[in-house]
């Protein structure tokens, strides 16, 4: 079947196409070159419409234990957003911690065709994949969490060489069926189990004597030497702590040029100036990002309203639990692997801190010059539910709207931000960069996020509208692997995406060491811990797609 998309205005930054009118052809789920003389089976008239690749959310908490705790914790939030069963669609719930089915439908209805879960605990990876296996339409993948696991910390304590650590990291990527490696509060989740309540970049873990800086270094090196496309995904030290801008700057300089991705950087860009001892560090952070091409960031923008924060950072979630709204929260220590904390939260525009957090996120978006290195996230659901992306896009693209929103915030926060003076407005091309081309490249997907021949036909078509929120809320068409899945912002067909993984090679000797560690200290056998690909595909819907470790970002 040959499908022709005719006359759309195409934004395809991977090929430097910036608003050029041209036709696209789809055959067998792929974008193809114009076939000479072939009969077109179906044609869509896209004249006057905007065409981009399907959007990719490179950091969103959509599956895994802490997400399901968040769901279970919040029946009152679900009740306000019930989703009805239809002939095509399953019922569910939306908003802060949506059900898996609803997650897929709502992402697709906004033109997203892939999403990546950034906090997959190795021991909980099976659950993460099963939850993501119940998310329709989207492609998905996970970043496996290391850095507070006792096996790594023991290795570091014992002075293991980098090669052995590389083997362990590669084994873990394979065993957990993930595409990247994440570190959360390096060493800190473990330190909390030893009753440490803070762990700064150069502070020693009370038991292992290892510092977060050292953990970052060995993991970033491992990811780089294994040539895993996605750089080490870093949730740094001191999340949410006023003054953490210094830690973040030291983290950037301390990594010595290795590729790293600093996630939800908004939460790590706080100074201590002003009457409330809370200020924006965004300008300094943006300056550092601009000066260090090895660094990418996503913002973790906050938006006002009720949400729930779900993080592997049990240490800081516990410290912040007093702010829970409604007042209930969960913290867990998990399997000598990591931990989690789930704290419901309501961001208020009349609250000084929340208002300034909002401004800090936007400052970072607007002050980082290169849209290839800053990514659109709310750290769903931590800063806001993913359904607020169209609103966030409008804030970036429409200065008068942004300043009008700013004028409603806590007055002291308005005085503490330079936002009103920033003139930059994102273009459609730049939005396509950050949500498509750059996101695909960052994750390591060569056939997604662009519209060149051979790419998967994940395509989103918008009707232009000066109200960018409206435009991005309701695509005219969304194609997933060449199938029309959304028309006029409504899901019309349900397909199932693939799970993207990498499989770096390693010396199998590490498995021997791990097997005896598992027998002695863990509660399952190593061979039962390893997730086989058939566990993802045996339901007849899922599949695993392996991407090469090409190390395109290597230094």
């Amino acid at each position: 079947m040959l499908i022709k998309l005719t006359g759309g205005t195409v934004y395809d930054p991977a090929h430097r196409v910036n608003g050029r009118v041209h036709d696209l052809y789809i055959q067998d789920g792929r974008i193809v070159d114009p076939p000479a003389g072939a009969r077109v089976d179906q044609e869509y008239d896209l004249r006057g419409m905007v065409v981009m690749a399907g959007a990719i959310d490179m950091h969103t908490h959509i599956g895994g234990g802490k997400v399901n705790i968040a769901r279970t914790l919040l029946p009152e939030d679900h009740r306000a957003d019930p989703v009805a069963h239809t002939e095509h669609l399953r019922s569910g719930c939306g908003h802060a911690a949506p059900s898996t089915l609803t997650t897929g439908y709502r992402y697709a209805e906004m033109g997203f065709t892939a999403a990546f879960e950034p906090a997959v605990l190795p021991v909980n990876a099976r659950q993460a994949h099963m939850e993501m296996g119940d998310i329709p339409i989207l492609d998905k993948g996970g970043y496996v969490m290391l850095g507070s696991d006792d096996f790594l910390l023991r290795m570091m304590h014992d002075g293991a060489d980098q090669k052995a650590i590389n083997d362990y990291v590669a084994f873990t990527l394979n065993a957990s069926q993930c595409i990247g490696v994440k570190v959360v509060n390096p060493g800190g989740i473990s330190a909390f189990k030893f009753n440490q309540r803070a762990l700064d970049l150069d502070e020693e873990h009370t038991y292992y004597g290892v510092t977060p800086r050292q953990v970052l270094k060995v993991l970033a090196t491992a990811v780089n030497e294994l040539a895993v496309p996605h750089p080490l995904h870093v949730h740094g030290c001191n999340l949410g702590v006023p003054g953490n801008v210094e830690t973040t700057l030291k983290t950037i300089s301390g990594i010595e040029g290795l590729p790293i991705h600093l996630t939800h950087i908004q939460f790590h860009s706080y100074g201590t100036e002003g009457d409330f001892n809370f200020s924006s560090g965004a300008a300094r952070i943006a300056e550092a990002i601009n000066a260090n091409p090895n660094v990418t960031v996503d913002v973790g923008q906050i938006l006002f309203g009720q949400t729930v924060t779900a993080s592997g950072d049990a240490m800081h979630q516990h410290a912040n639990a007093g702010h829970a709204h409604p007042h209930k929260w969960v913290c867990m220590d998990i399997e000598c692997d990591a931990g989690c904390g789930v704290v419901p939260f309501r961001y208020r525009d009349k609250n000084f801190v929340n208002a300034l957090q909002w401004a800090i996120g936007l400052e970072i978006f607007l002050l980082v010059e290169d849209p290839w290195r800053v990514f659109l996230t709310t750290d769903h659901p931590n800063g806001a539910p993913f359904t607020s992306y169209p609103h966030l896009i409008r804030l970036l693209m429409d200065r008068s709207f942004r300043n009008e929103q700013l004028s409603r915030l806590h007055p002291e926060a308005q005085r503490m931000t330079t936002l009103a003076s920033i003139e930059r407005e994102y273009s459609l091309y730049e939005i396509a960069v950050m949500t498509r081309a750059a996101a695909a490249e960052l994750v390591g997907l060569s056939d997604r996020g662009h519209l060149g021949a051979g790419a998967a036909a994940d395509i989103t078509v918008y009707v232009p509208d000066d109200d960018r929120e409206k435009m991005f809320s309701r695509p005219k068409y969304v194609f997933k692997d060449g199938r029309l899945v959304v028309r006029d912002g409504q899901v019309v067909d349900v397909v199932w995406g693939t799970t993207h993984v990498v499989k770096p090679e390693y010396d199998p000797g590490i498995e021997k060491r791990l097997a005896s560690y598992f027998d002695r200290y863990q509660t399952m056998k190593l061979d039962n811990f390893i997730i086989q690909a058939d566990e993802i595909s045996e339901d007849g819907r899922g599949s695993v797609t392996i991407h090469p470790c090409w190390g395109g970002r290597g230094v």
């Binding site: 769901r71 220590d333 789930v342």
Partner: protein, 428 residues
């Protein structure tokens, strides 16, 4: 993954029955006969080794083909105003299929162990908690406080696997066990070097007051009595002191053992006490459960609907109500007019006796006083087909393996077939 040698002996077999996900079992399979050779216990051996039993589907006690049974089951469910899908003791795939069917039918779903599970879920949803998992217990717990539960009768290998071993950060010889409420029924909690647990025994009915008193003492609040529920305050004071001085205390309970009205309040006080303790030291809760797929049911229902259990789809949206959607209440009040009962692990968990047409998907060998309208024997996850189940700590999903070829369909396969038949009926 579990693997089989030439003699039909499997190693590293995970148990879907024990709640703690033991996966070191050695099992011999000869034809349909199963024998646990190593690392079994009373719970696991019995569950693995019971004979295959009846494998033919029945309508009103008479053998029929699977197709006929599925067709009749679909008719019973499709004709009902409000069907109830209960029991729901199955694996992840089975639970997925049950929820899909319930969504299509507009049915209510509830789990066979949810009366116990609600004692925890209500606490989680009201105030939250701090909990831990089995490997943390194994490697860190220097003090285990058991509240109101005889652990070894429910989880025979709990102590052997997690307490009386040398962990990374604590040795068996340095661990201490205290029982509050029920005394242990055996010797599993006696350390290898012969130390008996401290037992502060009281009647179940006094345990709420005892736990409340312990929380007061943990918080150094003044108390004006000398004893509570027959336990000396001085002994509770010492326990409070131990909890405060422990490096990593663990407080365990099995909600299923807390058989009194509003036991969730006792769970809540326990969990709030754990939060109090964590202001200075570390301490975590360990809710014990996970048998008969109960955590599996709440997990899958949680991610597919947002709600853990007791969900009604009759208005087209999932609606959760911990009281109104309880199996016992729905049946007693006559609110449902058909019942599908699913028990894939345990042939002795029979459907409640009710006056409504009943479809049973059950492990072979169920003995009914009165045959249900439809009985479809299904395979046991982890014996007859592969699958996934959750163990007690809710974090670790255990991969289950197919050990024998019984020809029995999985609960998912039967439920999917029923849904296809229901769909055909509803659209015709």
């Amino acid at each position: 993954m579990a693997n089989r040698n030439e003699q039909g002996v499997w190693e590293h077999v995970p148990s879907p029955f024990c709640g703690i996900g033991s996966d070191d079992l050695k099992i011999r399979v000869s034809g349909s006969r199963i024998e646990v050779l190593e690392n079994g216990d009373a719970v696991t051996r019995e569950a693995f080794e019971q004979p295959l039993g009846e494998t033919r589907p029945m309508i009103s006690g008479k053998p029929v083909s699977l197709e006929e049974a599925v067709e009749r089951a679909a008719a019973v469910l499709a004709e009902a105003e409000l069907p109830l899908l209960a029991g729901l003791a199955t694996d992840v795939a089975g639970m997925r299929a049950a929820l899909s069917l319930a969504d299509r039918l507009g049915a209510v779903v509830d789990n066979m162990n949810s009366r116990a599970a609600m004692r925890n879920i209500l606490v989680l949803q009201d105030s939250g908690w701090m909990t831990t998992t089995l490997a943390e217990v194994k490697n860190r717990a220097d003090l285990l406080l058991v509240v109101g539960t005889d652990v070894e009768s429910l989880f025979p290998r709990f102590f052997q696997r997690h307490i009386w071993v040398d962990g990374m950060f604590v040795e068996a010889a340095d661990r201490e066990v205290v029982y509050l409420g029920k005394a242990p029924s055996g010797y599993a909690s006696v350390s290898p070097d012969g130390r008996k647990p401290t037992v502060l025994a009281c009647e179940d009915r006094d345990l709420p007051a005892v736990v409340s008193m312990l929380r007061l003492l943990v918080n150094d609040r003044p108390v004006g009595v000398d004893s509570v529920g027959g336990i000396e305050i001085q002994a509770l004071k010492e326990l409070a002191g131990r909890l405060k001085s422990a490096n990593y205390g663990v407080i365990a309970w099995a909600a299923g053992a807390l058989e009194w009205e509003h036991a969730e309040l006792t769970v809540q006080i326990t969990c709030e006490m754990i939060k109090d303790l964590n202001q200075r030291t570390r301490c975590s809760g360990l809710p014990l459960g996970g048998r008969e797929g109960d955590q599996t049911a709440t997990q899958v229902c949680g991610w597919q609907t947002g709600y853990p259990v007791r969900v009604r789809f009759s208005r087209g949206i999932p609606e959760y109500d911990p009281y109104l959607n309880a199996t016992e209440r729905l049946l007693e009040e006559g609110e449902v007019d058909a019942l599908l009962w699913l028990s894939a692990y345990n042939s002795s968990r029979l459907p409640p006796r009710v006056g409504v047409p009943t479809v049973v998907l059950g492990r072979g060998g169920m003995n009914f006083d009165q045959p249900p309208e439809v009985y479809i024997p299904v395979g046991v996850p982890g014996i007859d087909h592969a699958g996934h189940t959750y163990r007690t700590d809710n974090v670790v999903a255990v991969r289950l393996f197919k050990l024998r070829d019984s020809g029995l369909p999985s609960s998912a396969q039967v439920l999917e077939a029923i849904e296809r038949a229901v769909r055909a009926k509803l659209s015709s």
